[in-house]
Symmetry: C2
Subunit: 201 residues, 2 copies
């Protein structure tokens, strides 16, 4: 995008070209360089050449830089599950939902890799990520129940699908071979299908 020349009346807030992107990049750079705990919102705003006030127009706090978009992602996953054909089983429906959100990550591979390293550096962030993952699983279980799946199948299919997502994601962000996230998802499902859990004795 080429920023055009825009004119505002003098009392309106200044237009800051791509303030959102600049804040995110400044935050990531500081998290990497200085450490997440050691970075303040003031530091981020300063590096981005913006004010704290502007930061808070985009993010509630510094953690939000890493977790923005979680709700949208969850909504897209649920929509993917809901769009699955009515005749597929619950795990397959959840897996179709995962396939639907794969492009979201694929388009942001560099950010995903950098973000993961920051997450791995902080217990607080790891815990937040774990909670986000559990919420995803609960949202998928709810979507499956709406499709008519009963318990314990709905929760089990959701939890298993999110396990596939988690393991595939971890491999994708640490993979030098540059397999796509979709390929990692499919590999994880393939591996799961080899387990052939023994029926209850």
């Amino acid at each position: 995008m080429t920023p055009g020349v825009m004119k505002y009346p003098s009392r309106m807030p200044r237009w800051e070209p791509d303030a959102h992107g600049r804040l995110r990049e400044a935050a990531m750079a500081l998290f990497e360089r200085r450490g997440y705990n050691e970075t303040t919102v003031a530091d981020i705003a300063k590096l981005a050449g913006l004010t704290k006030r502007t930061f808070f127009r985009y993010y509630a706090d510094k953690r939000e830089v890493l977790f923005a978009g979680s709700e949208e992602l969850q909504a897209a996953l649920v929509a993917g599950v809901e769009a699955a054909p009515a005749d597929v089983g619950p795990f397959e429906a959840a897996a179709i939902g995962l396939d639907a959100i794969a492009p979201f990550f694929e388009e942001r591979r560099d950010f995903s890799v950098r973000r993961q390293l920051v997450i791995d550096s902080s217990t607080e962030l790891q815990e937040r990520e774990l909670i986000k993952r559990e919420r995803l699983a609960e949202a998928v279980a709810t979507a499956l129940r709406r499709r008519g799946t009963e318990e314990p199948a709905a929760s089990l299919a959701a939890q298993t699908a999110i396990a596939v997502f988690h393991v595939a994601f971890g491999r994708w962000v640490s993979d030098d071979h540059r397999e796509t996230f979709l390929e990692q998802l499919h590999e994880a499902r393939e591996t799961l299908s080899t387990f052939a859990p023994a029926p209850a004795s």
Copy 2:
């Protein structure tokens, strides 16, 4: 156990019959009656007829009343996985580990049910429980890798087994039919085996 008549020199701490059990029961009663957040260590000690000093001989803080024994449980699960026959697959080995710890819960059904209600009442406790569950999964994955399972199979088998554990546990503590925890574990595995994940396309 019948407490015998014991004599200590006067400068030794007084012998408190089953102080550990009394503190636990007092804590649970207060968590249920007053709420977890509203209960202090002083309250717990007072209701148990003991001192705060005695409380801290048994527990680091009030949360510890609910999470004591987690390390032992994890060690028992890992030992169960390690004791699985060498020729069973990774998920089966993890499931054998779960079967091995089922009696631990079975013997404490009433406590488990009460504990779960307290956990469900507090976001902080739910998060702590989630972290404990993730640690269990990581410990199982490590045990599977020691058995020679490679990635992603080790992490996937561990995560899936812990999902089975979690779902079975939730049903067991809220189940009026009084199925055993082992039965719930086996039912969850049976359900999982019906998913038949489609191989990667």
